[in-house]
């Protein structure tokens, strides 16, 4: 005899499992195709019957096809993340602790840009980079994103939640403003900065639109841009394309496994915007 309660919990498991299969199958398929031998046409039965090879990955790393974009994504993502940590902290501290009219105005601009649809700057940013001679350079990939309104917003809220007494004590001891910020406030803000760093890195790592329109040479392609442009090339097949995609997804998956709590709290704290 199955009791009513355990029957309903069985139903819950069955439904949850079916949905789980739907949600992760496409990613499993990507990994599966990435280890099939290249050149052969893929058919549906291959999920189980086809062989296993790492040759596609070896091919990608042997050429410039993926190493350069991987390097670019890491550099750009790293610099932008670092920039956001330092600059969000500075701006947020100013907005949280200095009650000035200017800061009130600045906070309004932060909220405005937080909500503004970014498509509005596609054309003018392209023109700006062109006229400034920064088009198709690392600067174009980095400069506009060094500090973003979500970061300022998150860190400002966090700073406002910590008492000011420690900063005051340090000031009495003769510490200057920057000293207070980087030796007292920054360590206290670590949880908020960690959440911010993950969000910024993920957004940047996955970003396609702006990196693709602000650069044109092969040397400056980030991973998503390179992958999107390889697609449709006669020279590349699904096996290699999926191996490249797997390389783009793996760092995100690994970070997710280790920092699930931080990622989730970042989302529930404000909701991310690309």
């Amino acid at each position: 005899m199955v009791t009513g309660k355990s029957a309903s919990s069985l139903v819950r498991y069955v439904i949850a499992t079916v949905i789980l299969a739907i949600m992760i199958f496409p990613l499993l398929w990507m990994f599966r195709v990435s280890v099939m031998s290249a050149g052969s046409s893929i058919s549906i039965g291959d999920f189980f019957s086809s062989g296993f090879t790492l040759a596609n990955y070896a091919d990608l790393f042997a050429g410039d096809l993926i190493t350069r974009p991987l390097f670019n994504s890491l550099i750009v993502g790293g610099v932008v993340t670092l920039g956001n940590i330092v600059f969000s902290l500075m701006v947020a501290y100013s907005l949280a602790r200095y009650r000035l009219l200017l800061n009130k105005v600045l906070f309004v601009t932060v909220i405005l840009i937080l909500m503004i649809p970014a498509h509005i700057v596609i054309i003018p940013l392209y023109v700006l980079m062109l006229k400034a001679g920064l088009y198709d350079s690392y600067w174009a990939l980095i400069l506009p994103w060094l500090v973003n309104p979500i970061g300022i917003f998150l860190v400002k809220q966090y700073i406002e939640s910590i008492p000011q007494s420690m900063e005051d004590a340090a000031r009495v001891d003769g510490a200057g403003d920057f000293r207070v910020l980087f030796t007292i406030v920054m360590p206290l803000c670590k949880p908020a900065l960690a959440v911010l760093a993950i969000q910024v890195f993920f957004t940047n790592w996955n970003s396609f639109l702006f990196p693709s329109i602000l650069t044109t040479s092969d040397q400056l392609r980030t991973l998503p841009v390179a992958l999107a442009l390889y697609q449709g090339h006669q020279a590349i097949d699904w096996q290699h394309l999926m191996a490249g995609s797997s390389i783009a997804v793996l760092p995100v998956l690994i970070l997710f496994v280790f920092m699930q709590k931080r990622i989730v709290s970042g989302i529930t704290a404000g909701g991310i915007k690309q």
Partner: protein, 289 residues
């Protein structure tokens, strides 16, 4: 306090510069050139007044892009929101393995859009997995694959977007569910209200602000759909969207900066109007359902 004012300004400088150079200036510049015939190749530009806007609304490519954008927004948001809520309810109650299910549902939303679009281009192709599933369910899949057919391409991309987004909004719903005080349910229990009654009288009304927040941010995001179109169809098979149109007219072949900027402002006004309406609903005291 002069020195503290100076310090505040120095600390704010990164945002003052970023805001001024990469946001305010481009936004205003775009507004100005929207009233000109500025292109990359032309020499200088002429004021054309409202001509760009008149041309836009007579341009079948723009009208069709706008239509597809509305289909995309109107089709995905109700489904995404409903499915996200159902998923949240499914994994809200404590049960063994709950964390695994939550993580699995969420994973697609942290994957790169380009990668997701590539995977689904493969799954949607002729003889691919989804064609097989469709045949098994008794449907005839499009002859050349789902993305090479005007009747199915846009809807296939929309389905992918729902798949990708539901886990993200599920997490926000879960946070909303957690914020509902247990006392409400206990009181309802004592008053003799059943589970279904509790859902409609407590859970749903209490989730209203969260649901509207989700709809607001998803609306702003969905109106700007572009990357998946670029990767999967390049706007062919009746899948071009507003932002894809902006990209195509402004940054390919003819580089019509002025015309594309005008289109960007039309979309901007549409998004702003939708957001304002949603904010008004968000602030209303009485529930809308």
């Amino acid at each position: 306090m002069k020195s503290s004012k100076a310090t505040a300004l120095v600390l704010s400088l990164p945002w003052v510069l970023t805001f001024g150079v990469f946001w305010l200036f481009p936004i205003l510049y775009s507004l100005v050139i929207g009233f000109t015939d500025y292109t990359l190749l032309g020499r200088g530009f002429n004021w054309t007044g409202l001509e760009n806007f008149r041309l836009l609304f007579a341009d079948p490519a723009f009208i069709s892009a706008l239509k597809n954008t509305f289909i995309f927004v109107g089709g995905t948001i109700p489904i995404t929101t409903t499915v996200a809520l159902l998923l949240a309810l499914l994994v809200n109650r404590q049960f063994k393995g709950r964390g695994l299910f939550r993580a699995g549902y969420f994973v697609p939303s942290i994957t790169s859009m380009v990668v997701v679009a590539l995977i689904f281009t493969n799954l949607y192709q002729r003889g691919g997995y989804i064609a097989m599933l469709a045949s098994m369910a008794g449907f005839t899949p499009p002859q050349h694959g789902f993305l090479f057919d005007s009747g199915s391409a846009l809807y296939s991309i929309m389905a992918m977007d729902v798949w990708m987004a539901v886990g993200y909004y599920m997490l926000i719903f879960l946070a909303g569910l957690k914020a509902i005080p247990d006392e409400l349910y206990e009181a309802a229990e004592i008053a003799g209200a059943g589970k279904i009654r509790q859902f409609f009288s407590i859970t749903l009304p209490m989730l209203r602000p969260v649901a509207l927040f989700i709809v607001v941010i998803n609306t702003i995001k969905s109106f700007q759909v572009m990357v998946e179109i670029f990767v999967m169809t390049k706007g062919k098979f009746d899948t071009s969207t507003s932002v894809y149109f902006i990209y195509e007219t402004g940054l390919t072949t003819q580089f019509q900066f002025g015309y594309a900027s005008a289109a960007a402002y039309v979309l901007f006004v549409i998004i702003a109007l939708f957001s304002i309406v949603q904010f008004v609903l968000l602030r209303r005291r009485q529930p809308i359902w």
